[in-house]
């Protein structure tokens, strides 16, 4: 059974009578996470790709304009109060900024005791304390060094790990992490990612890792969705997508990663780069592939209609006419086949 599923979801912001100022943030995306098979799935893209909007849709914070989000086969918008509470417990979130989520006037204990109280996780104070300490340890923190402190007395990495601990308290099935390490230092980044991977390994919790950083996405996830201006341009196993990218946009992204190795220089996708620089500010047309204006391989048909996904491997599909000899596949089918 699919634990969490996005079925052809679109989110349009703004309205305006003549459709002016309409912004399609998420444009027909499908995604699936299997309940029986815990996985780490990366959603990667740059600013404006719609990755955070997709995360908010998956969390039920905002409603899709069309399409639906399903939790265990049930549409979020049709859930009753009880079901919704269960959803809120099973699907947890960790956000980018470990500074913003805390009230500076309260001790950090508050972010941990609130869910215990709201979801009645413990019968007594002692039990609550035990539960909190246990979840802190799972997140790699020492309770005695963490509890009773104010947010400013802790480092960014500690604060972020408290958010991991808070998510763990509820024993969720899945955690959505939106850029959980983009604001912490390199030495702590590794520690936090390691604790997220442990959740999957040891507790069977699935993770949706939303990031702009393809290196860490490669390190921790099995499957990856590459987003460009609201659409999935390439999806599949990280081995295929990152090691052998097929979509011109993915190739540009991968070759632009500054690798921490002076012997592996910035890739040589020179043609792509030249194109990109002249058109990066220009908007795409209303029809066709959104990347067409920046694409060095652009063909006439790219401007006519947006390409469907083509299944170029068993575990990868690319939305690009360069691969039209492969069999087309719907986003939903591809998502389900990846989720298994």
């Amino acid at each position: 059974m699919q634990l969490l599923e996005a079925q052809n979801v679109t989110k349009v912001f703004g309205s305006g009578l003549l459709g002016k100022g309409r912004m399609v943030a998420v444009d027909g995306i499908s995604l699936a996470i299997n309940e029986e098979k815990p996985t780490i799935t990366a959603i990667a893209g740059e600013s404006g790709s719609g990755k955070t909007t997709l995360a908010r849709l998956l969390l039920g914070v905002i409603q899709p304009t069309t399409g639906s989000i399903l939790f265990r086969g049930q549409t979020l918008s049709q859930m009753n109060r009880h079901e919704r509470k269960e959803f809120r417990r099973q699907v947890q979130a960790i956000f980018q900024d470990p500074f913003e989520v805390y009230n500076p006037f309260y001790k950090v204990d508050q972010v941990l005791t609130t869910p215990v109280r709201k979801f009645r996780l413990a019968a007594s104070r002692e039990e609550a304390q035990q539960l909190i300490e246990e979840s802190l340890r799972q997140a790699g923190l020492r309770p005695e060094e963490t509890l009773g402190r104010y947010p400013h007395q802790l480092s960014g990495g500690q604060r972020q790990r408290i958010m991991v601990a808070r998510a763990l308290l509820l024993n969720p099935k899945i955690i959505l992490a939106d850029e959980p390490v983009s604001m912490v230092d390199a030495s702590l980044r590794a520690t936090i990612l390691e604790s997220l991977m442990k959740l999957k390994r040891e507790l069977g919790i699935s993770l949706v890792y939303i990031t702009h950083d393809l290196t860490t996405a490669y390190q921790i996830s099995e499957n990856i969705y590459i987003l460009y201006r609201g659409s999935v341009v390439e999806v599949g196993s990280v081995e295929k997508v990152i090691k052998d990218p097929q979509h011109p946009y993915t190739r540009l992204l991968v070759s632009s990663i500054p690798l921490p190795d002076p012997d592996i220089r910035w890739g040589s996708e020179v043609d792509i780069e030249k194109k990109a620089i002249s058109a990066s500010a220009a908007g795409a047309g209303l029809h066709g592939c959104k990347f067409a204006n920046r694409c060095p391989f652009v063909m006439a048909e790219c401007h006519v209609e947006a390409p469907p996904l083509y299944k170029t491997d068993d575990d990868r599909a690319v939305a690009c006419y360069l691969h039209k000899q492969a069999e087309p596949i719907s986003g939903r089918e591809m998502a389900l086949s990846l989720a298994g």
């Binding site: 740059e46 600013s47 480092s155 960014g156 500690q158 230092d185 390199a186 030495s187 702590l188 980044r189 590794a190 520690t191 936090i192 990612l193 390691e194 991977m197 702009h212 393809l214 290196t215 860490t216 490669y218 390190q219 990152i242 090691k243 540009l252 992204l253 632009s256 990663i257 500054p258 690798l259 921490p260 190795d261 002076p262 012997d263 220089r265 910035w266 780069e273 990109a276 620089i277 990066s280 500010a281």
Partner: protein
């Protein structure tokens, strides 16, 4: 502290040291707080040679930005420069009068600040802001010469001349960052300090902006001090790296040596914590926390987290020593290895 470079190592070969354009000697900066002074920078020494790209890396709180801003004398109370020298073309910038320093900024040493794109004035057209920068320094320049110089600089950062008529909000992040680079190089400075110049940009744009910066730097023959925490960017861009920890430089060396054969245990752990695309192995963080600069540990700042710490490390502060030509390290493990 012994900074005596007679030789400079390039691709493993020793060649006579090029001219030092900027030399920082024993810079000390602290923040005055009610609980006592916080030593943000305690005794930092390094130099930049002409045309070189030097990276100053460190995690938050390591003192890298404070160091960069102090070179320009742009830090404000409660921060105080307590001592040291910043030598640029024979002048000690720290000893200049406020007016002399104002003249040196932009003309001799320019800053592309952190989040530079937000440093543009939102109410003023880009062209006007560029003209202001020049006017503040050169009053005899004719209008046409001024305009020509601005166009030349815009062209060198791959911007079309029509951005002159644009307000900052009409430009993309990458374009704003290019405007800031243009502003930085207008007066052909000898040294460009770039403090995390691309931290808010996407990777594709980041790469384009950094390549532009590299190109204009080369054309000018200026030295660049790139300040940041992104080791990947350092590996791709700079020639030499200085690693900061707890307000001190712990290691300086050519970029390849720093990544392939780091000497200081902190650098070793830092390099080891970086993810790459070759292996999917579990990477390791550095255990423990960065030191409090208000109550720093005795001896070496890193000893409480150091897996190789000796008893001696908790007692004596190690000096930054050149243990091999071009390689400086501040660690007791290497005591006696310099001949």
């Amino acid at each position: 502290m012994t900074i005596t470079a007679q030789t400079h190592v390039v691709n493993g070969k020793s060649i006579p040291a090029p001219e030092k354009v900027l030399e920082v000697k024993n810079l000390r900066v602290s923040y005055q707080t009610p609980r006592g002074p916080v030593r943000a920078v305690s005794g930092v020494s390094f130099f930049l040679t002409a045309g070189e790209k030097f990276g100053l890396v460190g995690e938050s709180g390591s003192g890298k930005t404070t160091t960069a801003l102090s070179l320009m004398r742009l830090i404000q109370a409660p921060a105080v420069i307590e001592g040291g020298e910043v030598l640029l073309g024979g002048k000690n910038l720290l000893a200049l009068s406020e007016e002399e320093m104002r003249e040196a900024r932009s003309a001799d040493i320019a800053l592309i600040p952190q989040g530079a794109m937000n440093s543009l004035n939102p109410m003023m057209k880009v062209g006007e802001q560029l003209r202001d920068t020049v006017r503040a320094h050169i009053n005899t320049e004719s209008r046409s010469a001024l305009g020509a110089r601005i166009l030349e600089v815009l062209d060198s950062v791959d911007l079309r001349s029509d951005v002159m008529e644009a307000y900052p909000h009409e430009l993309s992040g990458g374009m704003k960052q290019r405007v800031c680079i243009a502003m930085g190089i207008l007066l052909s400075p000898k040294v460009i300090i770039a403090d995390e110049p691309t931290s808010a940009l996407d990777v594709v744009v980041q790469r384009q902006v950094m390549e532009t910066l590299g190109r204009v730097q080369q054309a000018l023959g200026a030295a660049v001090l790139l300040v940041g925490h992104d080791m990947g960017l350092m590996a791709q861009f700079v020639d030499r790296v200085g690693v900061m920890y707890g307000g001190k430089l712990v290691e300086i060396g050519p970029v390849r040596d720093i990544f392939k054969e780091p000497l200081h245990p902190y650098t070793q752990l830092l390099i080891g914590s970086l993810p790459n695309l070759r292996t999917k192995e579990i990477f390791k963080g550095i255990p423990g926390l960065t030191p409090s600069l208000l109550t720093p540990p005795p001896g070496c700042m890193f000893h409480p987290r150091c897996p190789k710490a000796l008893p001696h490390c908790a007692v004596e502060i190690p000096d930054l020593q050149e243990i091999r030509p071009g390689r400086w390290v501040s660690c007791h493990l290497y005591n006696g290895s310099n001949s």
